[in-house]
């Protein structure tokens, strides 16, 4: 009985094999970068303009990073749909 079970498994595994290679989809080169470091306000500064310039830089950093994150999410969703479409 055990031998028969093993035999059935082997037959099933044999039938499940499809010699078609599928490569993992590559990502756009622009998405390979990581989010940059936040900018620090120079210590000892008393000028408001310098402080809000740094804050603006950090906002821009965040928005860039958000765009990157959204692009990754879109990439995953699209590639998943394409991958699951091939059966």
């Amino acid at each position: 009985m055990k031998q028969l079970a093993v035999l059935c498994c082997l037959i099933l595994s044999g039938c499940a094999i499809t010699p078609v290679e599928r490569t993992f989809p590559g990502i756009p080169p622009a998405l390979k970068q990581s989010c940059g470091e936040l900018v620090l306000v120079p210590p000892g500064t008393t000028k408001l303009s310098e402080v809000i310039t740094v804050v603006t830089e950090n906002y821009a950093q965040y928005n860039g990073c958000r765009a990157l994150n959204d692009a990754w999410s879109a990439w995953y969703a699209e590639q998943k749909t394409i991958f699951e479409g091939v059966k």
Binding site: E37, V51, G64, A71, V86
Partner: protein
């Protein structure tokens, strides 16, 4: 039930079907025909007195060749079916890869466009700050403690790890 059919033994990984791949298909069909002919001839051999002693070996050989022929014919048929399925799958994979590359181009374009907008806004805001910096700095002085507190917010990881220690 279909999985237990003898033909599946031959389909045990299409790469290992060496006999079907090695020999031309017609040999197996020829085996089948010879087998069937052997069975039919063995039926008539009973009537012929001199050679009727060969009736049983020819009948057995016919049966054996028929079984082998059917077995391999089934294998060839399944092999062909699998080859067609593989070709269709390869085609779908190629289409998917093409579509995947198109999607990548589109996503990259959207991303670069958004980054350009971010940079444009950044440039505009910084220009506006520079334009109004004199009045801003004259009306408001930032104390060093405020700067120190603000800078702390940029490193949440190091602060939390310090707390843990």
């Amino acid at each position: 039930m279909a999985l237990l059919a003898p033909t599946h033994w031959l389909l045990w990984e299409s790469n290992n079907m060496w006999l079907i791949n090695f020999l031309p298909d017609w040999i197996f069909y020829l085996l089948l025909i010879i087998g069937i002919l052997g069975i039919i001839i063995s039926m008539f051999l009973k009537e012929i007195p001199v050679i009727n002693r060969y009736q049983t070996p020819i009948w057995l050989l016919g049966i054996l060749l028929t079984i082998l022929g059917v077995w391999f014919a089934g294998g060839i048929s399944k092999d062909q079916e699998y080859r067609e399925r593989i070709s269709a799958l390869q085609l779908r994979v190629a289409e998917a890869e093409k579509k995947s590359a198109e999607v990548n181009t589109q996503i990259e374009y959207v991303y670069r466009d958004r980054v350009q907008v971010v940079e444009k806004v950044r440039y505009q805001v910084i220009s506006a700050i520079r334009e109004h910096s004199t009045s801003m700095d004259a009306n408001c002085t930032v104390i060093p403690t405020a700067v120190e507190i603000l800078n702390r917010a940029t490193q949440p990881q190091s602060r939390s790890s310090e707390k843990k220690k």
